[in-house]
């Protein structure tokens, strides 16, 4: 893991306007927004696997889409290799699309049902005019082998509906790699696959990372996957990053109550039986709570927590937590595992 920063995100914010009903428009009610991503900062270093972990609705997928410029940010900057790509368009944007790619969560919906597998994977080459016809076909065959779809000639002419979920996801991975990108956003790539297939795909992604010298932003809600493959983890809650650190730091000494609640609520047979129980549910992202977004569910919350939003505080060079009650929390939860 080098020290070069591949992607840097500064004060990234995305607000989605809520559809107003006709009556609301008539009454000239103020537009409300879903605070999907509400001011996040992080850096991803070359060669690392950076995990963005959180439950559904926390904004992690939106973050991924923002970085790949599939959605426009409301505020903030996206910096790729020291260049501000937040607002690039047209040809310039297309140039960056060669280097930044995304793998989607749903392998059943991300492939065009009317295109052959070979054509799906070849299409990026056509768009970016790489190589001639024969070379392109060769490249597709070669990458089909890399992702484990043997024999490639067979798969080239098949249609997505003839493939299983795991195979389709391999095709999606092949498509994202054919342009030899440097950075890949993986948006929950295994959550719609069967358990035994998940392991295959995760292993494939690890292998390809080494072979192709990739950097990953791996988005997931599954701490299991995150612990097995990530170098660093950032935990998101209601559009904000509440804790970020090296894998060991997060798993062994989490300091944010939400992180601890998540880690200890995961079902299974484990050595640690102490659990941090929290009640309630994730609040409505249209009206996030004032102060610390987590305060109304947090067993350690104080008055201050409800008034002032905590900033990410440095615990170590690599470990940051956004919480007013770090001292109390570390007292009660010195370490897990």
């Amino acid at each position: 893991m080098s020290n070069n920063i591949v992607v840097k995100v500064e004060n990234l914010r995305k607000l989605f306007p809520v559809q107003k009903s006709f009556l609301d428009r008539l009454l000239a009610k103020e537009i409300e927004y879903v605070h999907a991503v509400d001011g996040i900062n992080f850096e991803i270093y070359e060669g690392e696997i950076f995990c963005l972990v959180g439950e559904s609705g926390c904004g992690k997928s939106t973050t991924g889409y923002l970085i790949v410029r599939l959605i426009e940010p409301t505020e903030g900057k996206i910096i790729y290799r020291n260049k501000d790509i937040t607002h690039v368009k047209g040809e310039e944007l297309r140039k960056y699309r060669r280097e930044i790619q995304i793998i989607f969560q749903d392998p059943y919906a991300s492939l065009n049902p009317r295109m052959k597998i070979g054509d799906i994977i070849k299409h990026p080459l056509d768009i970016h005019e790489i190589g001639d016809k024969a070379e392109r076909k060769e490249m597709v065959m070669s990458i089909l082998k890399e992702v484990g779809l043997y024999p490639p000639e067979d798969f080239y002419n098949k249609y997505p509906h003839q493939l299983s979920g795991g195979q389709r996801q391999r095709v999606a991975i092949a498509r994202s790699l054919i342009l030899r990108p440097k950075f890949i956003v993986a948006d929950e790539p295994t959550s719609m696959l069967d358990v035994s297939v998940q392991a295959e795909i995760v292993n494939l992604m690890l292998k390809l990372k080494d072979e192709f010298n990739l950097t990953y932003l791996y988005i997931t809600h599954d701490f299991g996957v995150a612990s097995q493959i990530c170098d660093r983890i950032a935990v998101m809650y209601l559009g904000k990053i509440v804790e970020i650190g090296k894998k060991d730091e997060i798993l062994r000494q989490p300091r944010h109550p939400y992180t601890i609640a998540l880690l200890t609520s995961i079902p299974g047979r484990r050595i640690t039986t102490k659990r941090l129980i929290i009640g309630g549910e994730v609040p409505n992202p249209i009206h996030p709570p004032p102060g610390c977004r987590f305060h109304n569910r947090c067993p350690y919350a104080t008055q201050e927590c409800g008034k002032e939003e905590p900033k990410l505080e440095k615990l170590s060079d690599t470990h940051y937590v956004a919480c007013h009650r770090i001292d109390k929390v570390s007292e009660e939860w010195p370490s897990l595992f």
Binding site: L70, R94, R97, F104, S110, L111, N112, P113, R114, R175
Partner: protein
């Protein structure tokens, strides 16, 4: 690009379809089989008219108002012309007009629907308004108005009918495009760097084809009926002695009822019905078959 995806789609699916239709199992497959057979029958009959027609339909070959007999299985008309020959030849104009008009509507309506639906905005709003206005007119009335305006030639009647069906193609395609453009594979295409024309042509359009084929078939059915309607009202493009089902129907309808010369009105009407039924059943069957499939996964 459009032509390529259309032809490759047809190629793949036609073979599959024909295989399945040989042994129809479900209700939809029966519709497609029967409809398809009817269409085939009528088209073949029309194409090979000169080979199978026993007589020249424009010159007398028998007595006047002869009822069906061995020499004239469908009887003769007032001028002694053989009805069977007139029926065999009589499909040319309705089919030609129906087909050409529908192709024209398709060629105009589909691209407009595609672009309007995908790009949206002001263009979409204006086009939708125009199309909705045309669509809300009862088809036959509009056709009559246009035919009266332009004069009853074959070209003009074809044009009039074509105009009526442009909004149908537009609406169907646009509706499909609106939902398809939200699909994940379209987002994926954008993510790999495709520009909007590539996305429209390679990702959106091919997924609308099944529905377009359905509308195509149903439109032909409707077009034939409209043309028949126009002819029946005397606004048709047919100049005697050219055989045409609707023309004959209109001309002999009176005597058929008053004098009992039923064969003069029955057969033309029957064949019009057959043609319309064929295209309708085919389209409906295809609709039943393809649309549930599209909902899968």
């Amino acid at each position: 690009m459009f032509a390529m995806s259309l032809s490759s789609y047809l190629r793949e699916n036609l073979i599959d379809l024909i295989k399945r239709i040989r042994r129809p199992k479900t209700e939809e497959e029966w519709f497609i089989a029967i409809g398809g057979s009817l269409i085939l029958f009528i088209i073949l009959m029309t194409i090979f008219a000169s080979f199978i027609s026993p007589y020249d339909p424009t010159i007398p070959s028998g007595g006047s108002y002869q009822p069906p007999s061995w020499e004239h299985p469908m009887g003769t008309d007032k001028y002694g012309r053989d009805m069977l020959s007139r029926i065999i030849w009589g499909g040319r104009i309705p089919l030609a007009i129906g087909l050409v008009a529908t192709i024209f509507s398709f060629a105009v309506g589909v691209p407009l629907g595609l672009i309007s639906g995908y790009i949206g905005g002001a263009l979409d709003r204006i086009l939708s308004l125009v199309m909705d206005s045309i669509y809300s007119f009862p088809g036959l009335i509009l056709a009559i108005a246009l035919a009266a305006l332009l004069g009853p030639s074959i070209m003009n009647v074809t044009l009039a009918i074509a105009v009526i069906y442009v909004p149908t193609f537009f609406r169907v395609v646009r509706g499909q495009v609106l939902s398809i453009k939200e699909e994940l594979y379209v987002t994926a295409a954008i993510a790999i760097g495709a520009n909007k024309w590539t996305v429209m042509g390679k990702y959106v359009f091919p997924n609308t084809i099944p529905n377009i084929v359905i509308v195509f078939s149903l439109s032909i059915a409707d077009a034939i009926l409209t043309e028949a309607g126009l002819s029946f009202l005397g606004l048709g493009p047919v100049i005697p002695p050219t055989p045409d089902w609707a023309y004959d129907l209109q001309k002999w309808y009176g005597v058929a009822v008053s004098q009992g010369y039923w064969w003069l009105a029955f057969w033309p009407g029957f064949f019009i019905m057959l043609a319309v039924l064929g295209f309708s059943m085919f389209g409906e069957g295809l609709n039943e078959k393809l649309n549930p499939l599209l909902r899968e996964k």
